[in-house]
């Protein structure tokens, strides 16, 4: 059996071939995605328990940036970027050309990159709104 092209990675595999290495890279990328998702959920739970003024029921995730644990939110956003871009690579390496959507991959890349950008662009509010958000008696 021969490997005709990397895109036929599923069908004809020779151990040590380019297709095998591609599959191994895909397995690694998906492993990073899975571990990343578990870490993302754990970090989110921790981040939402830390600020006493924060309500996960009524407030957006981005509102965490306004408190003293804003740096943790930046880490969470970066993690989201890493796990979704790892997924993109896994999808690229681990599927055949027929099962791969180019448009889907472009949107997936945007979905993956933007949280990383948002990590350096936290949600901000004007000072009176910040005071309102953090000071219950002021509401």
């Amino acid at each position: 059996m021969f490997t005709h092209s990397p895109d036929q990675a599923h069908d004809f595999i020779v151990p040590g071939s380019h297709a095998t290495r591609r599959q191994q890279r895909a397995i690694l990328a998906f492993t990073v995605t899975i571990i990343g998702i578990v870490a993302y959920v754990l970090l989110n739970v921790i981040a939402q328990l830390l600020p006493p003024h924060y309500s996960p029921l009524s407030q957006a995730i981005s509102d965490l940036a306004l408190g003293p644990y804003g740096w943790l939110l930046a880490v969470i956003f970066l993690l989201y970027s890493v796990l979704s871009l790892a997924f993109l690579l896994g999808y690229l390496w681990g599927t055949s050309k027929a099962g791969r959507s180019r448009v889907g991959m472009i949107f997936l890349a945007i979905w993956g990159v933007l949280p990383g950008v948002l990590a350096f662009l936290p949600r901000t509010m004007s000072m009176p709104t910040v005071i309102q958000a953090h000071c219950r008696p002021c509401r």
């Binding site: 599923h10 595999i13 151990p15 095998t20 599959q23 191994q24 895909a26 397995i27 998906f30 492993t31 995605t33 899975i34 998702i37 993302y40 959920v41 309500s55 996960p56 029921l57 009524s58 407030q59 957006a60 995730i61 981005s62 796990l83 979704s84 997924f87 896994g90 999808y91 681990g94 599927t95 055949s96 027929a98 099962g99 791969r100 959507s101 448009v103 889907g104 991959m105 949107f107 997936l108 945007i110 979905w111 933007l114 949280p115 950008v117 948002l118 662009l121 936290p122 949600r123 901000t124 509010m125 004007s126 009176p128 709104t129």
Partner: protein, 104 residues
Amino acid sequence: MTTTLHGLLHIVLSLIAFVSGMLATLFIALRFSRDARLRSLRTPALLIALLMWPTFLLTDTFGKLGLYGVGERLFVGLGLLWLLIVALWIRRRLQGDASNRSLV
């Protein structure tokens, strides 16, 4: 709520990311039907991808009920669930291929 230009940019980019996520999951799920090995993944992936749309559109309604955080987390959670299921599925397939090779 008064938002600064910096904050407005954050909201706009978040919206682009959310919409991109919904479109990515949908396009990719639909494509699974073209690969015989991924065909069985199409239905669960498509179901979650489609569920993301009403969840996203209802976020504002959740907000009016004082549950904006719940709505947003439901949406993000569905996106993560989609990534997790697809990653686990394809990874298991690839590992199956690898173990079959080692038996040859």
